[in-house]
């Protein structure tokens, strides 16, 4: 965007929205929206509190564990589905159903099954991330050049060699694309899980703030979460651009 001949840096329109927020806040129109300046001041206070740091730590833990399971289960399952017709027929309908299912509705069931704690949140996170990782790994394997597989076979590759030395690498660009989208979904999963279960992490924090009508605190934490999610997604997009450079050359 350019203004009076000057090139504005990306997202400078956010300043405009920030000003609007400040005006609405200052006007005292609604108790629900405190002025942005107040929210920002609260933000710096909040991130130093033990409660916030505990929530951040618990969230990071659940997020990393959830993504870890989604990746180490999702990639091999996807590759095997791409390789094996029978497994593919058995699993593909389920993967597609879960990919588009409103997983939020499953969270209460998970709570019943796995308790109201970390375990249920980690599983929620994994469930949000894993399906697209499976589907992309499968697609990566499906497009593999058949003669690479024959080549490995003709030189006596074991099934294990073929898996780790051919299929995985050949499907890597698609796999990483799936992991990127999976991680973005995991961010949603970990927050939604916490909100619904609401006794750990940010769920507990939000519960605390809304019970005490601390709207400034509420908005401050929300801004931190949005910024974190956005940063993760941009970082992954950057990594993926590096990989597609490699993919285009293969």
């Amino acid at each position: 965007m350019t203004l009076f001949g000057y090139r504005l840096p990306g997202m400078s329109s956010l300043i405009l929205w920030g000003i609007l927020w400040e005006i609405v806040g200052q006007s005292g129109m609604t108790f629900f929206v405190p002025p942005l300046s107040e929210v920002v001041a609260t933000l710096f206070q909040v991130i130093q509190t033990a409660a916030f740091q505990k929530a951040l730590y618990e969230t990071a833990y659940a997020f990393i564990a959830g993504v870890f399971f989604a990746i180490v289960i999702g990639i091999p399952v996807g590759i095997l589905m791409g390789k094996n017709r029978l497994l593919d027929e058995l699993l593909l309908p389920w993967v597609n159903v879960f990919l588009s299912a409103p997983l939020t509705a499953l969270v209460p069931v998970l709570m019943v099954l796995f308790g109201f704690g970390m375990k249920a949140i980690i599983i929620t996170t994994t469930l949000f991330a894993i399906w697209i990782i499976i589907l992309n790994s499968r697609a990566g394997v499906k497009q593999i050049n058949r003669s690479l597989v024959e080549m490995a076979h003709s030189f006596g590759a074991s099934p294990f060699d073929a898996f780790y030395k051919i299929y995985f690498w050949a499907a890597l660009p698609e796999i990483l694309g799936g992991v990127r989208i999976g991680i973005i979904r995991a961010v949603k999963g970990v927050i939604i899980g916490q909100l619904l279960i609401s006794i750990v992490g940010f769920g507990a924090l939000f519960e605390l703030y809304s019970a005490n009508f601390l709207m400034g605190h509420f908005w401050a934490v929300l801004i931190v979460l949005f910024a974190l999610a956005f940063t993760i997604s941009e970082f992954l997009a950057y990594l993926e651009r590096r990989v597609s450079y490699y993919a285009a050359k293969r």
Binding site: S147, L148, E150, M151, H153, S154, F155, Y246, K249
Partner: protein, 258 residues
């Protein structure tokens, strides 16, 4: 042409091979002997089952019936006595020339330093010295096929199976390859089975040419050019026997070309 008693014993024999793909009868009752230390071409129009036969010999495909023997041993799958050179090179795009060439040895469990020594030697031998750390996408088609060839040579298999290895490279490179191939047949003590659809190429490089015809696929004729082999690479294409054989093959194939 030469009388039958000069022919060395067979390194590879195929007996009564049939192969059906569903309703498609790719090969029917095909028997063929491949003399040791010589180059045999499988020549025929596309779709006549050349690749199918080569992959059955490689152990990559199972015949519907019939059997393949290599050195008197029944073939049940791929084995260290055979190495394959692929029409589309089949190189790992994420791996360097060194890793690609040593891949066959890696699969056979040869230690890293040893297999890289061996690979380095064959990389030089095929004329790619200095490109050890290059990636396939940085190489021309001809250079890529040299990598595929070095990979097949480095496992030191007795039988080299080549599926139209030069069809994806340009004409000049192809001629150079054909000359180099004659050198390889002379110097390496290996049996070559070479698939091509080019009559001139087959006559130029082969000790024995098996002409395959489609519908149903069978060996139509076996030709053993012999008179011009030691007249030097530059004189072969002007030799009367060479020209006669090319004409003769064309005469038998022309009816199958639409």
């Amino acid at each position: 042409m030469v009388v039958a008693d000069d022919i060395p014993e067979s390194a590879v024999s195929t007996r009564n091979i049939s192969k059906n793909y569903g309703d498609v009868e790719a090969l029917r009752d095909l028997s063929l002997e491949f003399p040791r230390g010589q180059l045999t071409s499988l020549l025929g129009p596309s779709g006549c089952g050349k690749t199918t036969l080569l992959k059955i010999i490689a152990g990559l495909l199972e015949p519907t019936s019939g059997e393949v023997e290599v050195n008197g041993q029944m073939v049940t799958g791929p084995g260290p006595d055979r190495a394959f050179v692929f029409q589309d090179f089949a190189l790992l795009p994420w791996a360097s020339v060194m890793r690609n060439v040593s891949f066959g040895l890696e699969m056979r469990g040869v230690a890293k330093s040893e297999r890289e020594d061996i690979a380095a030697r064959y990389i030089k031998e095929v004329g790619l010295g200095g490109f050890e750390n290059a990636y396939p996408h940085e190489l021309s088609g001809g250079m890529r096929q040299r990598v595929g060839l070095a990979r097949a040579l480095s496992v030191d298999a007795e039988v080299l199976l080549m599926d139209e290895p030069f069809s994806a490279v340009d004409e000049q490179t192809r001629r150079k390859f054909q000359e180099d191939l004659l050198g390889l047949v002379q110097n390496e003590n290996k049996t070559f089975i070479f698939v091509t659809h080019s009559i001139e190429e087959a006559v130029y490089v082969s000790d024995q040419i098996a002409i395959l015809l489609p519908r149903p696929s069978r060996v139509h004729e076996i030709i053993r050019p012999s008179g011009f082999r030691d007249k030097g690479v530059d004189n072969i294409r002007r030799d009367p026997e060479y020209l006669d054989i090319v004409d003769e093959i064309w005469a038998s194939l022309r009816t199958y070309v639409e």
